[in-house]
Symmetry: C2
Subunit: 335 residues, 2 copies
């Protein structure tokens, strides 16, 4: 059968407790003893039994990623970031697809975490925007880190982007390209990013003395289709804007398709900007001017600060704001 702590203790001529101390990196083990044990561990190929550890210590060495997000590219990036952060830490990643609308969401997640002794959660929008949900997790003593579009409560674990500023800057860039008639497609209403991006847009308009035109402001939901539909509506208006700011790239791509089907050319007949710098931004022609966020790194950091907390590394357990970056491509034209 498999090698156990007992085998190691015999081989190294120490007690099992000492072996336990060594494999858990506890203090108060003589250097000599430690080396002796380590040698036996290596020699015998000992691997601690996670189930036994879990039973005793109530830890599973598993993180879970919670998401309810239609954006596959975002999901893949987040996942990849967390996965890389887990590498060589002994932690692994369980995924949990959620439905933010489900009334059972909170109970299901709490049950799941308790059942599997999941050590901590990484939570993405829009779940990370649901304060009730988060409060319930806290009440159940569940550890988590959220990925959010703005700075959060400093007591909590989070990584954030600066969507408001990024949106403000992008809008300013559009205005600097001499556009005055600018449409806006809002994102999914349950994502707090949507409001931040919209407010950044409005603030930049105001700053430059421009008024938003309600006819060109449409509600989307971050999906390609919602962008397409918004485009169709806008292009039916009596007057058409010279530029449209879509709250993400998928919607921008949808607008581009609807424009092209109308026989309009981007950027000659219409400038277009997106948000996120997802792959689609470069896979359509012309490529989208957009905002790039370091999603993978953000996700990795979220996992890192969680794990650091489990490991008691208080000084390394720091929430952090990541800066977005304006990416100018062909879809935005100087008037």
């Amino acid at each position: 059968m498999a090698v156990t702590i007992k085998d190691v203790s015999k081989d190294a001529s120490v007690s099992i407790k000492t072996v336990s101390r060594v494999i858990n990196n506890e203090a108060n083990v003589a250097e000599l003893t430690k080396n002796k044990v380590l040698a036996s561990v290596k020699k015998l190929g000992f691997r601690p039994n996670k189930s036994a550890q879990s039973l005793r210590s109530k830890k599973s060495y598993m993180l879970a990623l919670l998401y309810d997000n239609p954006n596959k590219s975002y999901l893949a990036d987040v996942q990849s970031g967390i996965f890389n952060a887990c590498k060589n830490t002994g932690y692994n990643l369980v995924i949990q697809e959620c439905n933010y609308k489900s009334s059972k969401l909170t109970n299901d997640i709490i049950q799941f975490v308790k059942d599997f002794k999941i050590d901590g959660l990484v939570i993405t929008p829009p779940l990370s925007d649901m304060q009730d949900f988060l409060s319930n997790l806290e009440a159940s003593k569940i550890e988590y880190a959220v990925i959010a579009p703005r700075i959060m409560n400093p007591d909590s674990l989070y990584v954030s982007s600066n969507d408001y500023e990024a949106s403000y800057n992008l809008t300013s860039e559009i205005i600097n390209h001499r556009h005055r008639d600018i449409g806006f497609i809002k994102g999914h209403p349950k994502h707090s990013a949507s409001l931040l991006r919209f407010n950044g847009f409005l603030a930049a308009l105001k700053k430059h003395g421009l008024e938003p035109n309600e006819q060109w402001i449409k509600q989307g939901n971050f999906s390609f289709e919602s962008g397409f539909d918004a485009g169709v509506e806008i292009f039916e208006s009596s007057k058409i804007p010279t530029a449209i700011f879509a709250s993400n790239d998928s919607m921008a791509a949808g607008i581009m398709k609807s424009a092209q089907m109308k026989g309009m050319e981007v950027p000659n007949d219409l400038s277009l900007t997106g948000f996120d710098d997802s792959p689609i931004a470069q896979q359509i022609w012309p490529a989208l001017t957009t905002i790039k966020q370091p999603v993978q790194q953000m996700a990795a950091h979220a996992a890192k600060i969680l794990i650091a907390k489990f490991d008691g590394l208080v000084d390394k357990t720091k929430s952090k704001e990541f800066k977005s970056e304006l990416v100018v491509r062909e879809s935005l034209k100087l008037l």
Copy 2:
């Protein structure tokens, strides 16, 4: 503390072994006893401790998804399919990003499965194409189901698509649209799907008395960029094909972009077809004629047959071939 089997046994006035029998659905429990126990379980809100179960029974109730795939949409679909199949089974899904080139791949995975007592693996291309790797898993008694582009060894657990036939049919469709000069972009060489799709293409050409033109056959790797590059190369040829069959949609989108940058119009100057029916197929204009595979359902089935096997449901543990479907959209034009 949490409710244990002991509490239930007291409450129901039976032994803990009897409780164990009931929660594991073992035979030889009197109906009356069973109901008594079940009532106590419900009353006390008992949930078996997975760690303890795992320690004793060497099971974790965890499946792992192995992937090394640049296609985010495919990954998201597979994941979602497996996740849904796991729902209400008590199983959960751990993800494991792999590098098929890594010399440590096999050992790392075996170690991971042993450490966490992962019950079974769902393996996607190109990992599912690596026979050595699979053999090593078997030698280590690791259960797995593969997702593959063709029918596999009937002793193994797999779900397959019919890439060869689908490619043959799609090519025939192109030819039926009166194209004679047809280019082809090959997929990633490590994916067996690549060869199957290419061979299906060749067979259809042959069947219709056409010769492949080497100048229009390019090696890609399933990425958008590789499609773009292949397009650039082909459009530099002295003679340009009237249609190009790209082995997946991302590459087709890449070709479309390179065509548009050359000032060519799809489908008027060039017909284009892809494979997979990924979201990008509909997010570009004109939309791609392509092959649709039920990826989510395939992945779900893979998880189902694995779980059925664990649960000893021999008759439900059946590998299965899924049929692909031709989706005709605007990118293919009748000459």
